[in-house]
């Protein structure tokens, strides 16, 4: 009942390799079928995201032997040369595989520490594999444990709570002033990549109305066409600044575009309703003196970068807490796994002793012709009773005592000791 993991991620493989080894849902199902039919894995689950492709499995035989088979399968399935793939692949077994998955679900192995999307991706991957019947008792238990870890890390630590990009930090700060964005409007100055990132963040947070202003009207219309929004003519400050609650500037200009006088006039026109300004331009697009205006909140690129940096430190400081949760659940899973294996071992031992008893009696009874059928049956029954007596107490204790299961670290050694021909339960 070993667990094997073969995969690659953003740390081990460049994007060119990752995109070739990714799986669609259909491909995941096909891979599970093939791995089962070839006898490589009895249970399979494929986790494929833009940053990782991993196959978790329970092989019918020892996992240490099936890992090379899995690597070859991946190479063949995606038509990627084995030597190209081998430098990017990692293999984990049992405890290491369990720990790896739990860390993935917790967001500890993500490119952006603590990101939330991965938990949803793990959930989806498990759902598809479970519905298809590709998983079994071991992977079901393993992935349910992973989802629990992910949930606990997100509720009990602050690993994923703080914004980690300049754009998201800016939008979250605006929410500190206005609350939810779904009744708010924003004006975006500039139509470049940075503006688009902020617009996407604002859209994600449900911004109600979006206005786009750019020196080149075509650029503004193009961005408005892509993300939705209304184009406002360049320099029409009186109308453009009257309505929005959030203003984002990312314009290439030597001099500040929004000068103090412009904003002062705008604040008077809007009845001093609070105005949040995100200045992402370098050189700055908003005159520094504007930050003193009443009910005006200005954050420039440095301010936001500093906040992101503070948040990065805060997230890092949450890692030990998250690792503790991961370790706790790894222990729980291994204890469950050991209990299943140990009970299986006792059952296998019982069958083995019965066989031994049968051949032993056959050999001894041949020389005891004076015993009748009834006496022979009585002797067999007494020996059965003795064997049961010897086995039943340890079996009951293994089922009932968690601490005892924890103490028995190496089930393989016990199996080797008592089942010399390595008979598997």
């Amino acid at each position: 009942m070993e667990i094997v993991l073969v995969g690659l991620n953003h740390r081990t493989a460049p994007v060119e390799v990752r995109e070739r080894v990714s799986f669609t849902v259909e491909q995941s199902r096909k891979a599970a079928d093939e791995l089962r039919s070839r006898g490589i894995l009895a249970e399979t689950l494929v986790l494929s995201t833009c940053n990782r492709s991993e196959i978790y499995g329970v092989p019918p035989e020892s996992s240490h032997e099936c890992a090379p088979g899995l690597s070859s399968f991946l190479s063949e399935f995606h038509a990627v040369r084995a030597d190209v793939l081998s430098v990017s692949l990692y293999h984990h077994y049992d405890r290491a595989a369990v720990r790896h998955l739990f860390r993935v679900a917790a967001g500890l192995d993500s490119m952006l520490l603590g990101e939330a999307e991965i938990l949803g991706q793990v959930r989806e991957a498990y759902k598809f594999a479970h519905e298809y019947g590709a998983t079994g008792p071991v992977l079901n238990r393993l992935f349910q444990g992973a989802l629990e870890v992910g949930k606990r890390v997100r509720t009990e630590t602050e690993l994923g709570t703080r914004p980690m990009s300049v754009a998201s930090a800016g939008v979250k700060l605006a929410e500190r002033i206005f609350g939810k964005m779904n009744e708010r409007s924003a004006l975006v100055l500039g139509a470049g990549t940075i503006s688009e990132q902020v617009v996407n963040q604002l859209r994600d947070r449900g911004i109600a109305r979006l206005f786009i202003m750019n020196r080149s009207r075509e650029g503004a219309e193009e961005l408005a066409g892509r993300v939705g929004g209304k184009v406002v003519g360049w320099g029409e400050w009186d109308t453009a600044l009257k309505l929005p609650d959030v203003v984002v500037t990312s314009v290439s200009a030597e001099e500040p575009v929004l000068r103090r006088e412009i904003l002062q006039a705008a604040m008077a026109a809007r009845g001093n309703r609070a105005l949040f300004l995100m200045d992402l331009g370098v050189p700055r697009n908003i005159e520094a003196a504007a930050a003193d205006l009443y009910n005006v909140y200005v954050y420039n690129l440095d301010d936001l970068t500093e906040i992101v940096e503070q948040n990065r430190h805060a997230r890092q400081s949450e890692v030990p807490k998250a690792e503790t949760i991961v370790d706790e659940h790894v222990g729980k899973f291994l204890s469950w796994q050991a209990s299943v294996e140990l009970v299986g071992l006792v059952d296998a031992l019982r069958s083995r002793l019965r066989e031994e008893r049968a051949s032993f009696i056959r050999a001894r009874m041949d020389t005891m012709n004076h015993l009748g059928a009834v006496e022979r049956a009585q002797v067999e029954s007494m020996m059965d009773e003795l064997l049961e007596k010897l086995l039943v107490e340890p079996a009951e204790r293994l089922r009932g005592e968690k601490e005892l299961r924890r103490k028995i670290q190496n089930v393989e050694a016990l199996r080797d000791l008592f089942l010399s021909n390595r008979e598997k339960p």
């Binding site: 509720t155 709570t161 206005f178 009845g271 001093n272 609070a274 909140y297």
Partner: protein, 270 residues
Amino acid sequence: MKDLFLILTIVAYAGSLTLYLRFLNTGKEITGRLGTVFLGLGLVAHYFALLERSRGMHTVPYHDVFGAMSLFGWLLALTYLGLELFHRQRSVGAFVLPFILVFFVAAHLAPADRLSPPPAKGIVFAFHVTLSILAYAAFALSFVFSLIFLAEERLLRSRRLGNVVWRLPPLELLERMSRSSVFVGLLSIAVGTVLGFVWVDRLHGQIWYYDPKYVVTLLVLVLYALYFHLARSATWRGARASKLCIFNFFVVVMSFTVVNLYLSQSHRYF
């Protein structure tokens, strides 16, 4: 079992405070909800504790300064719970609960002021006092909201964002909560004052006799009405209105202390 409700109230309020603090720190929704549940339980236990105290002294809760304080704490909790549910915002609970707890503990652990039982003053008088104390409780809440507003605004302007700032209510919501609270206070003090005049009329056969408390109450009413109006005006909205609200509450505290204790003839504890 004599102090059962006293103990239950302290446990419930302390539990609520702990849960609200935890909610502020971790942002876990379930702890915030449990904080609200404990506050509700505290309100029920506090009600019975007030009842028990009044029965023991054969008088109304506001007969002495400690009873008035306890009633103030209860109305503060009630008003806060109402505002929390109305605005769906729990993160200020951690700042309000200490006041409620302090008022309750101070009121109930203090020795009872065993003066002669007051004459029965009727339902009009009871409403006059209760509504006045409710108004003070609502003004105290707006004071707390305004303080949080100013602190959060300062943090946002200084760019020194700690852990807590991400958990506090948005500035505009704090403004709305403060205004709602002042609205409750204004309504209560207006009706309470009218009822006071009605009661005086019944007692003395005349609607007016001079008491410095009238002047201060009128001043409080005018100041809060001014705040309620200015808080939405172009010049005052935001930090300036919050500062006015804080100033107003100092007038309320003066009315509660100096005016009641040294100047007023008929308003001792409310």
